[in-house]
Symmetry: C2
Subunit: 213 residues, 2 copies
């Protein structure tokens, strides 16, 4: 039987090449090609012979990130199993990836044996999660960390503007809202996110990757 095709989507080329080396060394798996970002993958997939069995997907990438890409794959190519591969263990990120359709989530500090197990499990059972990810999932079912999912588009926009050193007056202008409405956004978020002031909002935003540094 032919080996399973595993495509790596990862912008850190060194890591990408290195993982490809590992996967090619596993029996039953091969890496036909690698991509630097989600858009490259989508371009490749237009040719049916390029469709892999598994995608090892980095989360943070330029142009088209792992979350967006996984979401598109789920719609367009549901037969492809996506395993997320990330340095980042932030709950928000993990949950976003899983919601987008990832079948597994590996932190980049796993050993190669785990990677091989994950590939085999995803092929045979359809999913694979490490203990760490499973426990994070359970913990975040209904605590304040999942609040990020209840934030509306407008609130996210607001938070991003707060993080760019603007005053509320300036934010009001940018969002075409009255300063009073902005007060409302602020007060609502303070309560929702359990923070005391602007600083707390900024810290929350950074921790939950609403803004990037």
């Amino acid at each position: 039987m032919n080996p399973y095709k595993v495509v790596i989507v990862e912008d850190h080329i060194l890591l990408s090449q290195a993982i490809a080396g590992l996967v090619n060394a596993f029996s039953k798996f091969e890496v036909p090609y690698q991509c630097n970002n989600g858009q490259e993958l989508l371009d490749k997939l237009k040719l049916p012979s390029n469709i892999p069995d598994v995608v090892l997907m980095d989360v943070n990438m330029p142009i088209l990130n792992g979350i967006e890409t996984t979401g598109i794959l789920k719609k367009e190519y549901p037969q492809i199993k996506v395993i997320a591969l990330s340095v980042e263990g932030a709950e928000g990120t993990i949950i976003k990836m899983l919601k987008a359709g990832a079948k597994g989530y590996l932190l980049k500090d796993v050993e190669k044996e785990i990677l091989e197990t994950a590939l085999k499990e995803v092929i045979s059972t359809g999913y694979y999660h490490t203990k760490e990810v499973s426990s994070i999932l359970v913990n975040s079912l209904n605590d304040e960390h999942s609040a990020v999912y209840q934030l509306k588009e407008r609130e996210l926009e607001f938070i991003k503007l707060v993080c760019s050193e603007l005053t509320y007056k300036e934010i009001a202008e940018k969002m075409f809202l009255s300063p009073k409405t902005i007060d409302g956004y602020r007060d609502a978020l303070f309560q929702k996110l359990h923070v005391k002031n602007k600083i707390g909002l900024v810290l929350y935003a950074i921790k939950n990757k609403i803004v990037h540094l």
Copy 2:
């Protein structure tokens, strides 16, 4: 002639193993062992036969990080060439690593050919820097990004307190200073760091690892 010994110090095991695979594939280089953090390396080095020619050093690691470890190596084992390997391109970090004694600084998104070149160059000429790192070095010689080194202990303490959602009044109490003196700290920092307000201060602190999330 014997191949050069290259030790990888990296807490992300998958990446560590992957890089080891790459390096072992280079002619003239071999990886005798790998470490998960700086402390493991120092333990290993107590046995003279374990002393390598080059260390590929991650920057962010638990227990003993890359900057501290490099500093110790410079003193204790000056013959070992350290090449920093990091996902992070923050100027502050790069400068700290180079000050600590790193002979090269590679971002983890370099291609394996660059890694091989870097190893060869460091062995033969004593250093290797990519264009990116060189330009960062030049740019940061005398602009505001190097300001972090001019910050006094008290100012760092102040910034840390700002980042913990305290008001200036509360900070004044914690630092046993009048709120008006705190005003002075704040105004001085705004000017030094070219930020407009508290938010800017917080962002600066996070970017430059004065505080951690």
